[in-house]
Amino acid sequence: MIATGQTLKSSEEIKGRSLWMDARRRLFHNRAALASMIILGLIAALAVLAPLLSPYAYDEVNYDLIACSPGWWPVEAACRAQGHVFGTDAVGRDLFVRVLFGARVSLAVGLVATLVSLVIGVLYGAIAGYLGGRIDGLMMRIVDVLYSLPFIFFVIILMVMFDRNFILLFVAIGAVEWLTMARIVRGQTLSIKQKEFIEAARAAGVGPLGIITRHVIPNVVGPVMVYVTLTVPGVILMESFLSFLGLGIQEPLTSWGVLISDGADQMETAPWLLLFPALFMAVTLFCFNFIGDGMRDALDPKDR
């Protein structure tokens, strides 16, 4: 007994490395992932601080500066707008501030819709996997059927039905994205529920709901986090896709999809209207993908 006490004490001083600390260390050593996190942080900070960073409001119209290029634009344009870093759009609104407000919407949609899909998917998958048997079969059969539906069309129909409701956009996209999450979580749950600690919890009298929320779900966090980082860019893309088709965010609010769509209409005369939003969006998507890849490498004990 005394010996065990001593080993415990000395091991405390050595400071162990948990799975998560290891993963974090590996993630921070991945240069692409680290750079992506810094860039994303910058974009997010710009988006949050947008009103403070620009003297113009996102819906401030100026008919004297219609589709003017930024002051530093290398090619001669019809007019130049000094003080507008990214130039102005077709009704003279400052593009810089609009791109940042677009970032707000796009990032918010990405995060909220992913959260919706996370909650539905994790609960559904964990319940199906834990209960098993006929209920599992039925629940996964439903997922299979939903999977084979061309879902983007249903999102479009939903958006038409409810007049491009902003909140519905979050819910609709989230409701589409939960399917894969449910499958991943179910697979993990199936293997976790064989473990001794689940048996111990059951022996201690914990009910199914308690086991699922307190013992199963915390143990699926790894793969779920990887999938979440890859879902966010997917959702941002889907929102922009809908906005591009005119079925998403409505004026004067904006998102990257709306800006790209507007920019594409005027790319002959005012290419900056297309280039800046496209650049911001591409960089953001890139960053999320790099972080997702980095996380997968960091959390996967098998070296790739």
């Binding site: 061309p150 129909i157 038409v160 039905m161 088709l245 005119g246 769509s261 297309l274 969006m281 998507l285």
Partner: protein, 307 residues
């Protein structure tokens, strides 16, 4: 095999049924009818129009009538494109979309496979890294960004290609849309192909082929490609869905008269029958081609038992 194929075909019917039902009730739950936005009609005219389109009957009757018509291959008249039935509209749009989609798929498979194999053969060298970096670009940058940018470069600045229009499917008009549609798929196919090719090249029978002194192209074409292409076959289904979704944007941007455009315009105009018709058409296509992909997988990989 045949029993499996039949069972798969039969199981597609409930899926289609679910799609039709969902689409029907979702469209009908939408606030505002197809004739609302027009100028106010006199009550008699409105009643007559509604009667002509069965809109005066209770919802479940409309649903039953619609199901019966769909079973006979009749998707009803378009509410907004007067004098056209939905089947006629799809009939004019589908060849355009199919040509666009198929060309993009063929291009993606050929180019993606070639790039993936090249990357795998030069694993961890600059060729590999540049192909994979390019693939990353192709996957992350969405169609609606590449389309205008490529149009800007090749259509406007260089003036080499038309910026839009179909012109009866002339090659010049197809280059840009097909490229845009194929780019993400080329990227994904290249990634998949590289991954599986790297695995296959490590296999013993490839070592044997090398030891026999076969030249690289014969090892790749004769021995490695068939095994390495298997993951591609199972990707065909999702790829198809992605191409269909992408065609919504591409048809819109380039102004091509395909069904994707009908869908978007129908959705914006609340043309219920047209939207449902296109959704059913897309769903049937996706289900059917997924089915073909599964069968092809069974034929190509003798280890898979389709029972």
């Amino acid at each position: 095999m045949i029993a499996y194929a039949l069972r798969r075909l039969v199981s597609a019917i409930p899926t289609l049924f679910v799609i039709i039902t969902l689409a029907f009730f979702m469209m009908r739950a939408a606030p505002g009818g197809p004739f609302d936005s027009q100028r106010k009609l006199t009550p008699e005219v409105e009643r007559n129009i509604k009667a002509a389109y069965d809109l005066d009957k209770p919802l479940w009757r409309q649903y039953v009538i619609y199901l019966g018509k769909v079973a006979h291959g009749d998707l009803g008249p378009s509410y907004k494109n007067k004098d056209f039935t939905v089947v006629q509209l799809i009939g004019t749009g589908l060849p355009v979309s199919a040509r666009l989609g198929l060309s993009a798929m063929v291009l993606a498979l050929l180019l993606g496979t070639a790039l993936g194999v090249a990357a795998a053969l030069k694993q961890n060298r600059w060729q590999d890294y540049s192909v994979m970096a390019g693939a990353m670009l192709g996957i992350t940058i969405p169609t609606f960004v590449t389309a205008p940018i490529l149009t800007l470069i090749f259509g406007i600045y260089a003036g080499l290609l038309p910026v839009g229009g179909w012109s009866g499917g002339a090659l010049r008009n197809m280059i840009l849309p097909v490229t845009v549609l194929a780019l993400p798929q080329i990227a994904i196919v290249a990634r998949l192909m590289r991954g599986s090719m790297v695995e296959v090249l490590r296999a013993n029978y490839i070592r044997t082929a090398r030891a026999k002194g076969l030249p690289v192209h014969r090892i790749v074409l004769g021995h490695a490609l068939r095994a390495a292409a298997l993951p591609l076959v199972s990707y065909l289904g999702p790829a198809l869905a992605a191409v269909l979704t992408g065609s919504l944007v591409v048809e819109q941007i380039f102004g091509l008269p395909g069904i994707g455009r009908y869908f978007v315009q129908g959705a914006l105009n609340r043309d219920y029958t047209l939207v449902m018709g296109v959704v059913i058409c897309y769903a049937a296509l996706i289900i059917f081609l997924n089915f073909l992909a599964d069968i092809a997988y069974g034929i190509l990989d003798p280890r898979v038992r389709l029972t």
